[in-house]
Symmetry: C2
Subunit: 467 residues, 2 copies
């Protein structure tokens, strides 16, 4: 037993070290069944530690079954405690999944991220402090899957006033962003035997993986200058639900006009199905007010998805679903079994941030900032490319798409661009059916300042050499 | 058109009100295709608003396709914009799902919730302030599914030192609590054709619903005084994974001794399957150090689940999975498609809270507080019930179970208890196979102060009348 060595500088207590070393010896069979241990007094002397350390370690080993004391005769190693502990993991490199980190040396026209240097840090800190100082034990305990009433009321009022959504507070389900919302909607719907889900093509590639992950069968539906081609729906099997981004089609940027909306809703009514309206960045409509939601036209048939990722910041992971009444209970139940509910304090802080009017002011401020970036971007594009480019979807949001007829944005070209210091994103990456958008790229301008935007377009022009 | 009425006290802008009212008239067919609108100037006069208000509303309606201007002849209602907007939802009452709120007039022996009046508010606020003041745009953007490196390092060190877990930082996957962790583990595993999942019986009822929700086929395995009856595993089909709570069986409270652990691991090895170790409250072991994890004995075969709900607070919704290497990438991918990642700032605050040593001190403090509550509870039980009760699982955690031979905790008895002012929870609610635990209740003591605990036991005694 003298090979036990205790390290007084370790984070582990002496008791824990002694316990683990004895445990190791028993598990590995160095100390075998029936072996008589030193008395606690003798062991303490041997190791130069207080007797309490040994007593506690012996108690622990006894409680866990490694050793047993027999009255009057001492303490012995118990039977059945031998297990050759398996090797730990020798870790190979793990592939990165999800969002790639930014390379500060590259002008990155990534879409979907707002200008985060504008995040209202001080207001947020003040509210957070107040919310925590007022926190009750009940708020710190488990909550309800639908989310805090304070936040749901703020969201319901916001979407009623600004998005033309018609809803009650009880229809709001707070989610961990739109990603979770899409998963929940899939699970709400996909208990049906019908698994057909109609998606705009192109569309954010994550969306189809999420829906497929829950058993959905994806049917791509093309997009023309008015959005999803409703005519094509009639050639496909009966849908379970149809997923659209009518305010600002992602990635193409189209705003669906009322005629197409009416056609879509008539189809949805007639086939007795649901429309999922993903309204991810419509707050940023630069030359007019945001277009009203489709939800407002038929609240029983439309499942509306909103997010704070584009208006506030993605890191907060808060979004929401406005559910038709008959889906509310199923939605709450699935949210409960997904993660119980969103973190409570974050919800309370956000609710107060909205209620105090800070959110509306922040959106207005961001709209101005983004508008200026958009103007710089469009001016630069016109200057460098003239009629060699057609720009789509610039009325709204944090990105536009640029079509360069005759150009193919294949991996060689993208790599050359990156080597020259600029990163753009091909629409083709989001296409379900390949080959229709090889000449078109997504240009996000949320995170770049005007100087970098100009410089980026200049590099793009020097590589493409269209003039 | 004179029926349009604008409300200057509304939260909606005059432009938005005008736009929505005209939109309504067109959608409903009051204004029909080809109807010629007043000029913007005339409309402004009619309504007594600035011409800009009307111009903006007309622009918006034009952009969305409701109206169209024909050069030289005026502005007209467009074709195809009629849609009889459907009635909104007239909401019936929605059933509450999830955690029932506390009734302050009842002594509620609910389990699984720590004493939240002890939450370290001031430390938390200070760290939150620092983290937000130092926040970079990259931190506020989208992150990685596995979670922030700072937090994963803190968790890896914590479980290595305190739980005998053997792992690298890369094996840590930050989750939105154990609920999400169970869902992710189910989805990681259930792509197999084998759907057999072995659960301890009884076990928290949510667990089986989550696993079944992802297609698992549940096989209950009984629990004796040493935990899961490994012998019974051999009578069942080959498992996909086995789910256990070895540090503190929920609800019964048993700590699994080493012999049973060895037997279980031998079975897992031989059948080439996985063990899921749910280690939800082992930090609170009162008379000894926490029992080491099973994971440390075989890191390649054990998926370890931990949570901050019991040590810090449930409202924060943070837990973690320690994944064997071969499951890391699949785990990250599924977390990405579940909700991208946990909220970033919360992760950074928690990481710093652990790193500064506040977490370890908080756990030590809570252990003292809970220990005193436990003593009061056990003393009261002995005083009122003597040998009419047997107490199980009091060595660890935030609850114990009490068996009253001959008593049946059916709904009548539970209701009588509640009317007298005390709420206890039958083990039977968590039993997969009914009828074995009708005489046993769960008594949680995390949230109650000693006086309330004594009073609660007194009421329980007066109702049961066993002496």
């Amino acid at each position: 037993m003298s090979v036990i060595s205790l390290d007084r500088t370790s984070k582990k207590s002496l008791t824990r070290q002694l316990y683990e070393q004895m445990q190791q010896r028993i598990l590995s069979g160095v100390l075998t069944e029936g072996y008589k241990l030193l008395s606690t007094r003798a062991m303490a002397n041997e190791l130069g530690v207080s007797r309490n350390v040994v007593l506690e370690a012996y108690d622990q080993l006894t409680a866990e079954g490694y050793i047993e004391s027999r009255t009057g005769s001492g303490t012995f190693v118990a039977a059945g405690a031998v297990y050759a502990a398996k090797e730990s993991v020798s870790l190979k490199e793990v592939k990165t999944i999800g969002f790639k980190s930014f390379n500060p040396n590259i002008i990155d026209f990534r879409s979907g991220v707002p200008d985060l240097s504008q995040f209202p840090v001080n207001q947020w800190i003040r509210i957070t402090r107040d919310v925590y100082q007022e926190a009750t034990p009940a708020q710190l305990a488990y909550g309800s899957p639908e989310g805090r009433a304070e936040l749901r009321e703020a969201i319901a009022e916001y979407v009623r006033v600004h998005r033309g959504v018609r809803c009650h507070t009880e229809q709001v389900l707070v989610t961990a962003g739109t990603t979770q919302a899409i998963g929940l909607v899939s699970r709400i719907m996909l208990h049906s035997t019908n698994k057909n889900v109609m998606l705009e093509d192109p569309i954010t590639s994550d969306i189809r993986y999420i829906i497929e992950g829950f058993g959905g069968v994806i049917h791509p539906v093309g997009v023309d200058e008015n959005g999803l081609k409703t005519k094509d729906l009639r050639k496909l099997p009966k849908p379970l639900f149809i997923y659209v981004t009518p305010s600002h089609q992602f990635p193409l940027g189209i705003t669906m006009p009322i005629q197409r909306r009416v056609d879509l809703l008539n189809f949805v009514s007639k086939t007795n199905t649901y429309l999922v309206e993903d309204d991810y960045d419509s707050e940023f409509r630069y030359d007019a007010m945001p277009v009203n939601s489709i939800q407002g036209l038929d609240p029983k048939r439309v499942i509306y998805l909103g997010t704070f990722s584009k208006t506030l910041c993605p890191s907060i992971r808060v979004g929401y679903i406005i559910l038709p009444e008959e889906l509310i209970e199923r939605g709450r139940r699935l949210k409960w079994f997904a993660d119980l509910h969103n973190a409570t304090m974050d919800q309370l802080v956000l609710a107060r941030f909205i209620k105090k009017g800070y959110f509306a002011r922040h959106v207005a401020k961001m709209k101005k900032i983004q508008k200026r970036k958009r103007e710089v971007l469009i001016r630069s594009m016109e200057k460098h490319f003239g009629d060699k480019v057609s720009i789509l979807g610039s009325a709204t949001g944090l990105h536009l798409t640029a079509r360069f007829p005759g150009v193919r944005f294949n991996s060689e070209l993208l790599q050359e661009l990156e080597e020259k210091g600029v990163k753009v994103y091909p629409v083709e990456e989001h296409a379900i059916r390949a080959g229709f958008y090889e000449d078109t790229i997504i240009i996000g301008y949320g995170m770049l300042d005007p100087g970098r935007i100009e410089k980026g377009v200049e590099i793009l022009a020097s590589v493409l050499q269209l003039n």
